[in-house]
């Protein structure tokens, strides 16, 4: 059947386009390729970051090898570096933060998603999110002039009096130290853990809750029996996300933790985290090995936080996808 094509329906679709894709006009072709290029840039940035960090740390890795992680000697004068005190400080302060933050965040999340009256949820939720809006350095400032003195004058003497037989609560009380660091980190990660937990709890199908309530359970029991088990992996994921944030936190903790590269069993003792040592010494570092050692500390931090982030997201994602019960 002979058909002519009037020029009005045909835009000169060049043969180049036919080869490359399904697009019929140049606009679509350019649009897709340009946005794809920019999206690729996101991947490139991440890869470049990883590569840059490895290259910057290469000298230190070559010199100290695995011993870097296990040695406590950090001596810029003799050019010998070991990151153990910082690794200890980072992990200890973050775990301590979790001890404080997880119960509180879970309590807030359960309060907001299950127990609070509707009119209260908006304002309280907003305020909790406001905790996340305060810049880290402002927390640090508050930590130096409000938190640390309060710890030094009130809390630590009390703890020493009551629990002083435990090595945790012995030693000089400066206010600045592991306890201050743990507390301030806890404050900063609470909004993260609680908001992700709220999302996780919200993803639980209400049929489960209602089922338990219909059987005569009290509100708390319905949460404990029906909601929490379903949401468990997601809540663990939320905690790990919080842990990741705590590990990477720099300013607030640098300002209150005392910055002394020691490993101690006391909560009152000053400590030093990986992020803090980089923040404090990077611009002062003379010598390539020194810089490289600091970069290696950064690399370790980078790798650990990325791994935790991935694990956390998998756990949270799983709760959102479980197909049982209601719609998602």
């Amino acid at each position: 059947m002979a058909t002519s094509h009037d020029v009005s329906l045909v835009r000169g679709r060049s043969r180049i386009l036919t080869r490359f894709g399904r697009e019929v006009n140049w606009g679509d072709f350019v649009f897709r390729r340009t946005t794809a290029l920019i999206a690729a840039f996101v991947i490139a940035a991440l890869v470049a970051m990883a590569v840059a960090m490895v290259r910057a740390s290469s000298e230190s890795i070559a010199t100290f090898g695995l011993g870097f992680v296990f040695s406590s000697v950090w001596d810029p004068v003799r050019d010998v570096y070991g990151a153990l005190p910082f690794i200890f400080g980072t992990i200890a302060s973050s775990l301590l933060a979790l001890v404080f933050a997880v119960p509180i965040s879970l309590g807030v999340a359960i309060f907001l998603s299950e127990l609070a009256p509707t009119w209260l949820r908006g304002p309280v939720g907003f305020l909790v999110e406001l905790l996340a809006a305060v810049p880290s350095v402002v927390y640090g400032l508050w930590g130096i002039f409000a938190l640390a003195p309060w710890l030094r004058d009130t809390v630590e003497p009390l703890l020493a009096q009551v629990f002083g037989f435990l090595p945790l609560f012995q030693g000089a009380q400066h206010g600045f130290g592991m306890l201050a660091g743990g507390i301030i980190l806890a404050i900063m990660i609470t909004p993260t853990i609680s908001s992700v937990s709220r999302e996780v709890l919200r993803a639980v199908p209400s049929a489960l809750r209602e089922g338990a309530l219909g059987l005569g359970a009290t509100p708390w029991e319905s949460v404990r029996v029906a909601v929490l088990p379903y949401a468990r992996s997601g809540l663990v994921g939320a905690t790990i996300l919080g842990l990741g944030r705590a590990l990477g936190e720099t300013m607030a903790i640098t300002m209150v933790i005392g910055n002394r590269a020691e490993i101690s069993t006391s909560l009152f003792a000053p400590s030093y985290t990986m992020a803090s040592v980089i923040a404090n010494e990077f611009t002062e570092a003379t010598g390539k090995l020194y810089l490289s050692a600091l970069a290696e500390v950064g690399l370790l931090l980078f790798v650990v936080t990325v791994l935790l982030n991935v694990v956390a997201r998998l756990l949270v994602w799983r709760v959102g996808r479980l197909p049982e019960g209601g719609r998602l």
């Binding site: 059947m1 058909t3 002519s4 329906l9 045909v10 019929v24 006009n25």
Partner: protein
């Protein structure tokens, strides 16, 4: 519409291919002399097949669409009527995995030819959707002009265009003082007429309507049907409807689809009073669907 006795012409599905001169003659002819064999097609499909992935949803449709008449496409759910109409302006392939084969001729050009730009097809074949979809970020005035403006055209007198289009859809008196208000602030029926105005602003030759009244209340529906009656004088209209009474009210020709096939196509009065196929009769008497 009272059925009139039809002259005993053999009803073959072949349509004449004259140019516009005899098309005018045909539309001036008396209604009772018009039949599918003498209609002048504005568009026609030849062996049109449509697929969603591997599933064949239209199984070879050959159907002429009469110029400056209203053709209704009816059939039970899932028979392919929406798919058919969306093939007429190449909207079908917008869905990922959807494709169509065969020919669809607009006047004498196959719009499915590999060198044809679907974007240009849609300028000449406009579409109105089931759920009114005025652009929420634009005022009523901007909505009418949207088709022109978003394509980079600047009409010399935009206000005149807006007034003319809104008159054409009988909306002018209702909205002339609130042209600056958001398009979504109108009632459902008004929104749908606004969408029709928006499509008409591009001066298409064919207007496709995919169940345009199914989201509207009866009064709004009646107004849109009145509008279709008016628009027929200037545009070729294809309307998909699941409401047979609506087809009987507004359409000159009706095509009955069933399970992806065209079962019967004839004047509306013939379809509803003296259908030739058993399945057509079963459908219109409500035995299924």
């Amino acid at each position: 519409m009272n059925p009139r006795p039809m002259s005993s012409k053999p009803t073959t599905k072949k349509a004449s291919r004259e140019g516009s001169a005899s098309g005018e003659e045909a539309s001036k002819a008396r209604w009772d002399e018009v039949s599918v064999s003498t209609l002048v097609p504005k568009m026609r499909t030849e062996g049109l097949r449509a697929y969603f992935g591997q599933a064949e949803v239209l199984k070879g449709i050959t159907l002429p669409i009469a110029e400056k008449q209203v053709t209704a496409v009816i059939g039970p759910s899932g028979c392919g009527k929406s798919t058919f109409v969306r093939c007429l302006n190449r909207m079908h392939e917008v869905v990922p995995g959807a494709r169509a084969t065969g020919q669809v001729l607009l006047d004498t050009q196959d719009i499915y030819h590999s060198e044809v730009d679907p974007v240009r097809v849609r300028r000449r074949v406009g579409m109105v959707f089931q759920k009114p979809n005025p652009f929420p970020t634009m005022s009523i005035r901007d909505n009418v002009l949207a088709g022109l403006r978003l394509n980079g055209e600047r009409p010399d007198d935009p206000d005149a265009v807006v007034e003319k289009m809104l008159h054409r859809v009988a909306l002018w008196d209702e909205v002339k003082d609130i042209l600056g208000r958001a398009g979504t602030g109108l009632s459902g029926g008004q929104q749908q007429r606004l969408c029709i105005a928006r499509s008409l602003a591009l001066e298409p030759e064919v207007l496709l309507m995919d169940e345009p009244c199914s989201a509207l209340d009866p009064i709004a529906t009646a107004r849109v049907e009145e509008l279709i009656h008016e628009l027929r004088k200037a545009y070729t209209i294809v309307i998909v409807t699941h409401n047979m009474q609506q087809a009987a009210r507004v359409a000159n020709f009706t095509a009955f689809f069933y399970l992806g096939k065209l079962i019967e196509h004839d004047r509306t009065d013939v379809i509803f009073t003296r259908p030739k196929e058993q399945r057509t009769e079963d459908y219109i008497t409500g035995r299924f669907g």
